[in-house]
Symmetry: C2
Subunit: 400 residues, 2 copies
């Protein structure tokens, strides 16, 4: 048994544990150093991706070390990974991938210039070492899901209370995507209820996240208007039971959207796209849907509260608002950590438990690619389309 940590704060390694093919943890080196993918913005306006040897450090009393088995590439990881650089500029050499930042982008990245930033918001793995506290040692050998960045790494030290403990026998790969997509989808329906709406709309609705949201809404009886960009995406969602699917490539998009919003009563939307006029179009359609219910003419529009939250940035261009929807409208950013902070730990725990309970049903995800850390360096070069395409998700397996 390994004892480490600072004096008086012993940590405990896994002793005699060998299931799932993992070796027993015998030495400091086995557990507390490893490899991690890191992204560095240079003062020369380059982004350098490397796989580095890193020292994980011994766990404090309330911490554990997780051997990361799998971590997804979510759209929300690309900002840290690429820092806004276009993958078309990527080149390989000396065991690193180098990209070039667009002109003027460096100014907004001052906070990370010269710093090797860890990447990967979430992951699944096995607890291979623990600090001395009861809550930490109780996790030894358990499969856990974790959130907090730096998951494109062989090992991650993290607070025991940050681990979502999964049922015995859960494949760590199934634990990889417990947080970002599932909690974002649940956060959308929770936000909808907390802010007094009864149905919602969602753009880029054929994404993994969108499919998950559709399953949640079907299970919970919530009206959902799925907004997609291609007929094939509409078919995919309808095959999964979605009743309201609107295709923005349709010639009658605005009318179809307005009718779907009227049928469902959706007055809140979550938008993954961000740029362009879509958010404004949704607000206008919400206003038209609520106005056709009759009532006195007011040049200030209806009093129906119309909300769009931008939670992604698939289109980085400016958001253009035409403000032709009265005065009872709002548009803002929506970010999972801010949502979780707002609802508080108790509600956050309830949502996490639901994810754990429905991991193989509501929150199941399929991956199109499986990549080692080194292969991820080359995957970046292949094409942005692989990283950004709706529904084509990659899984990083750091131990490979």
């Amino acid at each position: 048994m390994w004892h480490g940590g600072s004096p008086g704060r012993p940590s405990i390694g896994v002793d005699g544990w060998s299931r799932s093919g993992y070796k027993r943890v015998m030495s400091d080196a086995d557990v507390f150093s490893g490899r991690a993918l890191r992204s560095t913005v240079t003062a020369d306006a380059e982004v350098v991706l490397t796989v580095d040897q890193v020292d994980v450090g011994p766990p404090g009393p309330d911490e554990v070390v997780v051997r990361v088995e799998a971590s997804p590439i979510n759209p929300s990881d690309l900002g840290m990974l690429l820092a806004g650089a276009d993958p078309a500029t990527a080149s390989a050499g000396d065991g690193r991938t180098t990209l070039r930042l667009p002109d003027g982008a460096l100014a907004g990245l001052a906070g990370r210039v010269g710093r090797a930033m860890p990447v990967g918001n979430e992951g699944g793995g096995v607890v291979v070492a623990a600090g001395s506290s009861d809550s930490a040692t109780a996790l030894l050998g358990r499969t856990v899901a974790i959130l907090g960045g730096g998951m494109y790494a062989t090992h991650r030290r993290i607070g025991a209370d940050q681990c979502l403990v999964l049922d015995e026998g859960t494949d760590p790969r199934d634990a990889a995507s417990c947080f970002v997509n599932p909690l974002t989808a649940l956060g959308m329906t929770d936000t909808m209820r907390r802010e007094g709406h009864t149905a919602l709309a969602h753009t880029a609705a054929a994404s993994n996240l969108g499919q998950m949201l559709n399953r949640i809404c079907l299970a919970d009886g919530i009206g959902l208007v799925n907004i997609v960009r291609r007929p094939a995406q509409a078919d995919l969602l309808r095959e999964q039971g979605a009743t309201e699917v609107v295709d923005s490539s349709s010639a009658d998009f605005v009318e179809e959207l307005t009718e779907a919003l009227r049928r469902t009563g959706a007055t809140i939307a979550f938008d993954a796209i961000g740029g362009g006029e879509l958010a404004s179009t949704i607000l206008a359609a919400m206003e038209a849907a609520s106005s056709t219910e009759g009532g006195e003419y007011s040049r200030y529009g209806s009093t129906t509260n119309k909300q769009v939250y931008i939670y992604g940035g698939l289109d980085r261009s400016p958001t253009v608002l035409h403000r032709a929807y009265g005065m009872a409208w709002s548009i803002g950013g929506w970010l999972l950590p801010n949502f979780l902070a707002a609802v508080g730990p108790e509600r956050a725990d309830e949502l996490r438990r639901r994810v754990a309970d429905e991991l193989s049903s509501t929150f199941a995800i399929s991956y199109a690619f499986v990549l080692t850390l080194v292969k991820l360096l080359y995957h970046v070069i292949m094409a942005r389309s692989f990283l950004m395409a709706t529904g084509v998700k990659a899984l990083v397996v750091p131990q490979g």
Copy 2:
């Protein structure tokens, strides 16, 4: 004494009351019919302004009839008055003023085509007839301020509970602008507090409303960043004691704005302009001001909640958001009636009482023009600049 109204619901006219030069009310015709300015959008895409004979109707038990002595032209009145038509298109003839709507504007005005809409949000006057209830009769002869549209008229029937009763001896002209500007300014500082901010910014800050807001903030010890468009406007506000004034025509506007936001800690702004990039610039400056306080780099930006409310539309062009300020931001419409509904009647009453108490100090307004109803028809033709210029306010005196 006149008794009117429907059977069993007698109304009471003013009997024997003659101060301030008003005649005793002796007949139905004196009180319950009069003239009103009305704005009609035609199916031919014209806007026709007329002064019509209208029947006010007898007051119900809980209603009064107010002889309107004065009503301001606020920017918020122009939408109902002009329906979006450019005053440059105005022409006079047959006792009416006719304007032409821009191409495509008719579609958004379907709710008012062919309807002669009353105009004028607020006004001050004297109660000259009342319904039978105690609360209504108690108002007979009192100078009151009223809100509710249709104030560009000689008489206005309205609920007794809608009247803000002013001190004996108050000139009705001083009662003209008790609601829109004063309650909007108070609503801004109230919204600031309710949403957890401690200081605010304001655009078009040299307006009558802006000067009022400056006086409120000085009196209440609230940090206020005044954003103006010309050096002369900055001088005007500084002469009135404003400490933080930023001129958007300055070459160093963004830096000066950021510093002012940092000094005050303002994280909420109220924007009268609406179109263009100013709201986005303010959000970016708020983010820069909060980020320079240090802290961990996050590609999602700070967790400082940054809010811009658009309450006017001096620039009708689209709002352009660059979204370069993290995810904790929001922009939305702000409308006085919606605010008053949200805070509830008790708080609304407190705010109204403060206006009444400070009518000749904090909430004093000066007018550049005084217009009869008929002169208003021609005033529209003179130029949009007279209607829209910051700080140049007109007062309508319907009895003239």
